[in-house]
Symmetry: D2
Subunit: 460 residues, 4 copies
């Protein structure tokens, strides 16, 4: 048995005795398992695999222990993967990532464990809930030091599939390169594919410009990090408790967003953002949003655009720009939009590093648990506001992502069969067509594996 | 009316909406007054006066306001003293100090407002109390970033009178200079006299050694800062809620302590520290402690040493070294003791920046409110442990300090007459003699004003 | 006509009037042409081409001008290549490289223009010559700030072909990655192939280790930079006046050398280094030297090793280690040799950043002009010391490199026919076999072009 | 015998073998003595004495040796003064100053040893001379790294007596404090009195503004440094070869000049500067110049002003502003003049860190050797241009300074009697009155010693 002690670095080297007790005293088996799995994923940083089971199989004996010392807490790894070490020493970047996991998963968990429960209780107004969840997102980014240095209006969030072809991957790299040459930083979901390409490209652009402050921020969540371990470029890792908080972290920290071709997860992200931007209170809020891909993705974006047009209407369509096969144009557009963002933040007295003035409804903030029942009950019809419809569609797609790759939901599907979605015939047809096109384009899984749908669509 | 807005800097530029609400929402008139007075004291940094009333008189119309903005909070000063401005711009150091006041007085106050009440409740064990007060002290120092860079074992706390003669003042400067040449940093009570001299000397020593990381830490408390505004050298200001927490902050952050001649406040500090060091659990704890003064202070230190010997005994006397008129010897002794401190911290797994392993009994941590009643009831007799006796004597002296310079207590004395101290005849005589010698040596007040005692001593 | 002014940065922003006069006053047409071509090469940084003519064809109207200003000198580019600009602004790294060209080609040229002539004059002892050429190499590296930060014994020079296959390229990247993970820096000839791979790999290794001081030093020469423009990773560019000074710069700055498979240029480098190490005065000098390549290069290295064994003997063979297909072993060996290098430098009182104590004979320092006559007269026989033989072989290979890719020599070959090499039959056969193997392995030119030999071998 | 080796720091740790030979090979006894004396002066930094003989007496056995090592050169001190050491280690600032002495006195001396001789030769035009001396001044400042960071237009040169009363000293401190609060840096002649006060004040102003880039530049010369060793605040020491180069260094590096009351040396400085500013080519050149002193110095400044008015005329008077007893006004005036300086430098294309565009005639640049003969022959009459008259007066005063404190001239006076100055009766009377007033005000020597004039004034 190999046992390796890690000296605490950064914030964790300054803990009070009370905080140490909270950290080391947990007896929550479930939480420990998630923590251990996230550590294992981080120790496999840079390995390209989206099958958590395959990734973890060789490391059954791996464990993490927290050891109390007078001055704080020490982490010990038992039987960790060799790949994370150089001549017996843990790679520095991985070392930092492990303490990010500790910070977000244990420390922040303890601090905010009650927030969803609290929000659900009766004596809390919606207003309070919104603020407190946003405050939590803020506090987690602040504690991760992700807000320091985020005030130059140059953080571009890139969304897109982890499973994309070589052409599309090269394209994301090229967009990243052009952004890097313009001293933009990159924030993604932290895995492979469209989450890695822009970072890799930006790193070269930064090097050429002698830009020393390059940030490659990966924002993940416990239920997905194992399937998408941080790529080798990520130099800041943040793990938000669930997809809703993760999406909020993206939009609050971003100064512009690029969406590359992806699967149903990417559609979820687009609908989430459009749902928020459709909120009347955000109608004047400038939010640079570009959908882009290489030659050959026109069809893909037309399908998305049509779907948005037919479901949410032209106002939603007007919130994004589609640019095909022109990385320079993408980078320039984002550069130019900086000014508008700056003016708006100044006018609002808003922070440059955190987009407080964007209004987000509670239904976009609370955890949607995609059980069979919840999925079956989604109100997939037109008798609701555009914002609510966007929220409902977002949840439907979120559930399908879970059914595709989140271990727990995958298991549920195995046990109970596929999710059943139903609603307005016309709406259901639109959804059906969009999802079918993703499957046809192999956007549901990493190449090599055949996609087995986790849902059926029924017309009410 | 002159109104000046201050942009938030540092930690305060990153506040959540909830935190802003807490900060701006206080309706506590008393707290606001303390806050306003502390700000006024800070705006008078560098002015040598120990009469708060005289200092504040010209600024009756002065006010501070907190203004809520989307991104956080802004401070506004109404009719501030001219002395703090250069061509209309607030001096940077004062700007920082004001936000330190905001941080410690409002932000931390809100966070820890319940701690003394909580400690007083029945269902808290002593052990819990100790830890939670120490945790609070730690948290306040951590939040003030006073622990960053405190891990080189070179923080020397200097205690001593604010009212000292020129010879003694020069001596404190010379000791500071020798410490500065040896790359030691200085932490004091942040006012004039022996609190300023060592900083001034160290600054020159640091400059000669091209030492860029010079720290001049002032630790004050709300009830005393007006009487002892920060001197011009202080570059880190921390305001602890009361004298007990302040003393704990000193001893936890220090790697060595120098005590210069002073009055009853200095005696309080010495008794506080000896009381802790007499705790059996600290018997192996190395804690460098030097009493020093210029030629002519032999008598003063002999009086102190005799008092300690006769009250606490030779074991207490062995915890300090008296060095008269030899600044180089003082600095060398502290330099040499670094190694022992380092070994002990390593052996204990203790932090280099915060002395967790020093045990402090609750009676040294809780606020002692020097009312006439409390003073009268102090058990000034020998039927207690040495540690308890030290604690009792500390409280007696603490009350006299309050009666001398803390506005509220001074007013009480005016209204109700002098404190009455009583106890064992022999002990009372020792106390009486010590205090009388302070009065005779003009160590009770800044020169120029005649000392009017705030106590009488009775033998039971 | 497009004209772009570049503000001076770094050293050039501080020039005396006399220095400005020297810089702007040159009327040397030949020197100007070389300067202009080097600038053009640098503006094409990152473009992979080894045909200078093809590279330069589109930019016939390109010119550089130096403009005198009161405070110094400004550079102006007329009709520069678009590829070096982002939204109208020159890429920062290219900007820096241009001023490196100015520094080394004009400024240092003026300073040292007489050095070769001087050395040739009668009243200079050999000892003086050696020192003055070494001093010049030192001064150029110092002025380029290449010695600052070169004192951590972690600069690894990588030699190898610019024309290598994908497998070999990937291998150089992997070796660079392993070196980067161990916080080694990379110095190469600054072009593509084996000069780029190790830098690219090291950059990723550095990023993972959060190593901020990554150096990717390219050392080129005027006659070759056009054929091998700096790759995109190079962040320090130095242009030495000729191959002899360039080789000396490599060995004086290096703390270890890796030789990847290459063509005749690589053989020249190996013979140069072995010739020096065979000097008796260097017999105790530790100089880590590793020959390495991927699976399949055993044969290549055996051929080299055999050639060295049969020409220079087993003592020469003992100065290097051959490692096939094991990047980790290469990196570890270099790491471990640090200690020996450190001990030797300390024992000699030598600098960590410049290897003064390595003795280099004048014949390795002076420019060898590969005319047809000089090549024909090379004493390719065994009646000389091992060091002299190494020097002679080095010259022969150097001439062939020039005949392959240096524009001037290529033109000579076209005009006068191939070089004629002649000497001892046995030696000539060894040479013939080695060169033939390079041709067979396509190591003479970038893939796609057929190699046309520039020499014939005759037996005396 | 105590021998202490000093490791080379900074530029000296990177020397070529040729440079080492030059440094260690000097057999110039005279130069060595000067070097040794300057080192001794620097080792006495902070000691206030203007009697070199008294200062040096205790250290007769003191010597400095340069030791050649493979990598460069090492300095060794034999029997150095204790005051420069802390627990056996040389104070860092003194360590740096010693290498500044080595740099300017030996290294630069060797480089420029021929410059005055060269200038004197026939085949050099005046234009060339001016440029080459200015280039030398530039090169010395550049090599001392004094130009880096000198581009913020905030370097204020302060001139004034080393022998001043407490009131005047306090005033210079207060002016320095006000300049420091406005983030101005201070450059002086590096000794005590008006050369120390502004630095000390500025240091406190800088500390209060948290200004980290505080520069306290002392520019001295070999013949005077022993009489005025660097004060404790100087953090950059430069030693120019003679008073003419030193004055040029002051005016080229300055962005504004303050003249405090002083003696004849201060008058020399004022005349030097006015002589240059009277040059027609400088008539548009903005050069902030303020004469200032505390209450009670009105008379002093009136005397000076009258002297300037009667000798050089009202145009000269218009180049300065006299401000009595108002430090804030002095600092504000210099702050406000920044803008004009900036505009002029931009318009001229001039450097911000070195005032190239100020024209200085050769007669202000060449060394004036104040022999009895040279002094006697000074053309003290009105048949010359205003600039020439200023130059002549400057030389007369320069000679008197030498006669007062420069060891060599003091000895000459002892041997040959007083200097004889003669010329126009009216002019001689003006000079006589001015000098007499300095004597009366005790501005010729440090208090405590009686002034013995070194000159007599005769009317032709």
């Amino acid at each position: 048995m190999k046992r390796i002690g890690l000296n605490p670095v950064g914030w964790i080297s300054q803990l009070s005795q009370g905080e140490v007790t909270l950290l080391t005293g947990t007896t929550d088996r479930e939480l420990y398992k998630v923590f251990r799995d996230c550590c294992l994923a981080v120790l496999n940083s840079g390995v390209d695999l989206d099958d958590a089971a395959a990734l973890f199989a060789p490391y059954e004996s791996f464990r993490v222990e927290l050891v109390r010392r007078e001055r704080g807490v020490k982490m010990e790894l038992i039987d960790p993967p060799e790949v994370a070490f150089v001549d017996g020493t843990l790679i520095r970047g991985v070392h930092e990532h492990l303490f990010s996991v500790l910070r977000d998963l244990l420390y922040m968990h303890v601090k905010y464990s009650g927030i969803e429960a609290h929000a659900a209780s009766d004596n809390t107004t919606e207003q309070e809930t919104t603020i407190s969840i946003t405050d939590m997102v803020f506090d987690m980014l602040r504690h991760a030091k992700a807000l320091d240095g985020n005030d130059e209006l140059n953080t571009i969030v890139c969304w897109g599939g982890h499973s994309i072809g070589l052409e599309e991957y090269k394209y994301t790299k090229e967009v990243g390169y052009q952004l890097g040459l313009r001293q933009m930083n990159i924030c993604t979901g932290c895995g492979p594919g469209a989450m890695k390409g822009p970072m890799k490209g930006a790193a070269i652009g930064h090097a050429k410009q002698r830009y020393k402050k390059g940030r490659y921020i990966g924002i993940s969540e416990p239920s997905i990090i194992a399937a998408e371990p941080p790529n080798a470029i990520v130099n800041e890792l943040i793990i938000m408790p669930d997809i809703e908080k993760r999406l909020e972290a993206f939009v609050r920290a971003a100064h512009g967003i690029v969406i590359f071709p992806g699967g149903v997860g990417t559609a979820e992200e687009l609908l989430y953002l459009l749902g928020i931007l459709m909120d009347e209170r955000n109608s004047q809020h400038p939010f640079p949003l570009i959908l882009t891909g290489p030659e050959g993705t026109q069809g893909y974006f037309e399908a998305i655009d049509t779907f948005v047009g037919k479901t949410l209407g032209p106002a939603a369509q007007s919130r994004y720009q589609i640019i095909v096969n022109d990385p320079v144009a993408v980078a320039r557009a984002l550069c130019e939009s900086k000014q508008k963002v700056e003016q708006y933040r100044l006018a609002m007295g808003d922070s440059f590093s955190f987009n407080w003035s964007l209004k987000i409804e509670p239904e976009f903030q609370h955890r949607f648990e995609p059980t069979h029942e919840a999925m079956a009950q989604l109100p997939l019809h037109r008798n609701q506001s555009v914002g609510q419809l966007a929220s409902t569609l977002r949840k439907a797609f979120s559930g399908i992502v879970a059914g595709n790759i989140k271990a727990k939901t995958v298991a549920e599907i195995k046990r109970k069969g596929r999710f059943k979605l139903s609603g307005d015939p016309e709406l259901m047809t639109l959804i059906d067509e969009l999802l079918a096109s993703f499957v046809a384009q192999q956007r549901m899984k990493l190449p090599g594996s055949r996609y087995e749908p986790c849902y059926t669509i029924a017309v009410e």
